[in-house]
């Protein structure tokens, strides 16, 4: 499992026992896997619900922003969670190493959830009502301004 964190040195930092380091890496990798899988699942679930509830009441709204795509940014939360876990379980070591590892792991989980969610939204048609399928794009995820269509659910 720890091979998942391939860019983190397998050798423990100075003052940390090898077994402890291995256990920490395995734990961090496991948490990352859970957060990536769970995060992607949760993101897709919320996206699906949001897309289904998005019912443009008029043509102007239909041509407006596609707000459900913004849910891919939920991956940031899972990245932060991974960072928190990392800070919590990181063994006593120089603070620079702990911060660097936390940022790297957080970024890794964030990117993984973001990419997997985005690809899932693009590829799994069942998640998106047919009328919205043309609008699934990265541009819509970055389109943070605009009045969303009224939710009739």
């Amino acid at each position: 499992m720890q091979k998942l964190l391939f860019w983190i040195p397998q050798r423990p930092p100075e003052g940390v026992a090898f077994d402890t380091w291995t256990t920490v890496l395995q734990l961090l990798a496991s948490v990352a896997v859970v957060l990536i899988a769970g995060g992607t699942f949760v993101t897709l679930l919320i996206y699906k619900r949001s897309a289904r509830n998005l019912k443009p009441p008029d043509m102007h709204s239909a041509l407006g922003p596609y707000t459900p795509m913004r849910w891919v940014w939920l991956s940031l939360v899972f990245g932060l969670l991974e960072m928190s876990v990392c800070v919590g379980i990181y063994p006593p070591a120089p603070i620079e190493g702990e911060l660097a590892a936390s940022l790297q792991l957080g970024l890794f989980v964030f990117l993984a959830v973001f990419v997997l969610s985005f690809v899932g939204i693009l590829k799994i048609d069942a998640l998106t009502p047919a009328m919205h399928r043309g609008k699934r794009s990265l541009a819509e995820a970055f389109r943070l301004s605009g009045q969303p269509a009224k939710d009739y659910a």
Binding site: M59, A62, P129, A130, M131, G134, K135
Partner: protein
């Protein structure tokens, strides 16, 4: 072949209803139209002509959309050059080959003296001299006298340009063929032209054309309007005060025909309304343009009912409105489920197109991915296609006429008519922002209706995609829109009567 013969102003209004019903896809596959009216410039006929011209234009431009499905065969005025698109005119046949009844007898040189005596016996001098180019002025006897010559005129081939002759030739050809021959006549029994036409023409078909295999149906309309003004004192014209008497005489006449065995009708539809609409008196000619009425729609439905059914035995149907119930709803119409679905589908498609989609054509072209059906069926084609308002001018013209037809009928809404709720279409406008009202569903939001249309338009499965790919862009769009609105109508429309009863409008 199906043939519809409309007589007089009432017949012309029934014909207009038939056009609107056929536009909704409710008509037969093919229909021949023939108009009988001494008043060839009748305003009601001009309006029906305008609807037909617009219908034909749409049929040509938007093929196989599910709308405008009936192919019409009709006669244009003799000697008229082939019409340009959208300018076709219906010919109106004047059975009276003379300016007045007296002239008619004078023309018949062999029998002038004898016929003159008969004329003096049966008609007042005023009736004999009254010009009949404006119709028969509520005097069916005048028209009946002219139509007595139908056998003579119809049997000859010397006047190919004559409308009656053209009809006779067409019916003769039908009767010699293998297909079933159905003829439907529509007209009032309380005016002049209709009352004088229905029986003579049916007799002519059965006896003179030897049309035993022809099935003949009639929509006999009894008074459903009255005049608020009066023609000038002493003027020979249709007068509301005579309507009831004329109707009584007509029913007695038809009873006599039935009892005496001189009965040529296979189906007879008596259609009326017990609260006649008050209308301003209008002279003949272009001035005679009466607003569309619910009874015209009933006459149109009677016509379609007759052509749709393969009945070999004779039937007599009575369609009217009982005085006990406060509202006229879709359930009061014969075959209401199909009629409701067809008419509401057309109405909703028109509303959604004009109110929502058409104004966004340009924006859709700029943001093609935002509307899935547009992206898939238009923008992603090679070369990419767009939708342009110019391509829908024919549709817009028809829709304006259709809208007006509904609004004129809906003036009854103040009292009883509840086909489209009064809030959706009344007075002089349709509220394009409230399609849910047109569906009779104020409990749902307009947004939900529109969203539902978009959702159904995006549901493009494989076979449909292939079918649509072969059509022109406007036809592709209209077919998709029709399918979506039809689904929506079938999903949302419940029995108005049930819902009204639920709301305490009247007892269950």
């Amino acid at each position: 072949m199906n043939t519809l013969i409309c007589a007089g102003g009432t017949g012309a209004r029934s014909l207009e209803s038939v056009f609107h019903l056929c536009a909704a896809g409710l008509g037969p596959q093919r229909l021949r139209i023939f108009v009988v009216d001494g008043d060839t410039s009748n305003g009601n006929l001009s309006r029906a002509s305008a609807v037909l011209a617009s219908y034909l234009d749409c049929q040509k431009k938007y093929q196989d959309t599910g709308f405008f499905t009936t192919e019409f065969e009709f006669f244009q005025p003799s000697g008229e050059a082939p019409s340009q698109e959208g300018t076709e005119r219906l010919d109106s046949w004047n059975p009276m080959p003379a300016k007045s009844l007296l002239d008619l007898v004078k023309n018949d040189t062999q029998q002038t003296a004898a016929m003159g005596d008969v004329l003096n016996l049966l008609f007042e001098e005023k009736e004999q001299n009254t010009p009949v180019d404006g119709g028969y002025r509520g005097r069916p006897a005048i028209g009946a006298a002219a139509l007595a010559l139908l056998k003579e005129n119809g049997g000859r081939d010397t006047q190919p340009a004559d409308g009656g002759q053209r009809l006779a030739n067409a019916l003769k050809a039908d009767l010699q063929g293998q297909q079933r021959v159905k003829v439907f006549l529509a007209g009032s029994v309380f005016g002049g032209t209709g009352a004088s036409t229905l029986y003579p023409i049916s007799r002519f078909i059965k006896e003179d054309l030897k049309g035993d295999k022809a099935t003949i149906g009639v929509a006999a309309l009894v008074p459903y309007f009255q005049f608020s003004g009066d023609p000038g004192a002493g003027e020979l014209a249709a007068k509301a005060e005579n309507f009831d008497l004329a109707t009584k005489m007509a029913t007695e006449f038809y009873t006599y025909l039935f009892e005496s065995g001189d009965w040529h009708f296979n189906s007879l539809y008596w259609i009326g309304y017990n609260q006649p609409r008050l209308m301003k008196y209008q002279h003949w000619g272009n001035e005679q343009v009466n607003p569309a009425h619910f009874v015209d729609l009933l006459a149109g439905l009677a016509c379609l009912d007759f052509f749709a059914k393969d009945e070999s035995k004779d039937v007599c149907k009575v369609s009217g409105l009982a005085g006990d119930e406060p509202f006229i709803t879709w359930e009061d119409l014969p075959g209401y489920e199909d009629v409701r679905s067809g008419l509401l589908t057309l109405f909703l498609a028109g509303m959604i197109h004009k109110g929502q989609i058409a104004p966004s054509f340009a924006e859709m072209a700029n943001r093609p991915r935002d509307v899935y059906w547009f992206k898939e069926l238009f923008a992603s084609r090679r070369p990419p296609e767009t939708l342009d308002s110019k391509d829908f001018q024919a549709w817009d013209t028809f829709w304006n006429l259709h809208e007006k037809w509904w609004l004129q009928m809906q003036t009854e809404a103040e009292r009883r008519l509840k086909l489209l709720p009064g809030e959706a279409a009344a007075g002089d406008h349709i509220d394009y922002n409230r399609p849910e009202l047109a569906l009779g569903r104020p409990d749902i939001s307009s947004g939900e209706v529109f969203h539902s249309v978009l959702e159904n338009m995006a549901d493009i499965d494989g076979p449909l995609r292939q079918e649509l790919a072969r059509k022109t862009a406007p036809s592709r769009y209209l077919k998709l829109l029709r399918r979506a609105t039809e689904r929506m109508v079938n999903r949302y429309v419940k029995s108005n009567r049930e819902r009204m009863a639920g709301a305490g409008a009247f007892p269950k």
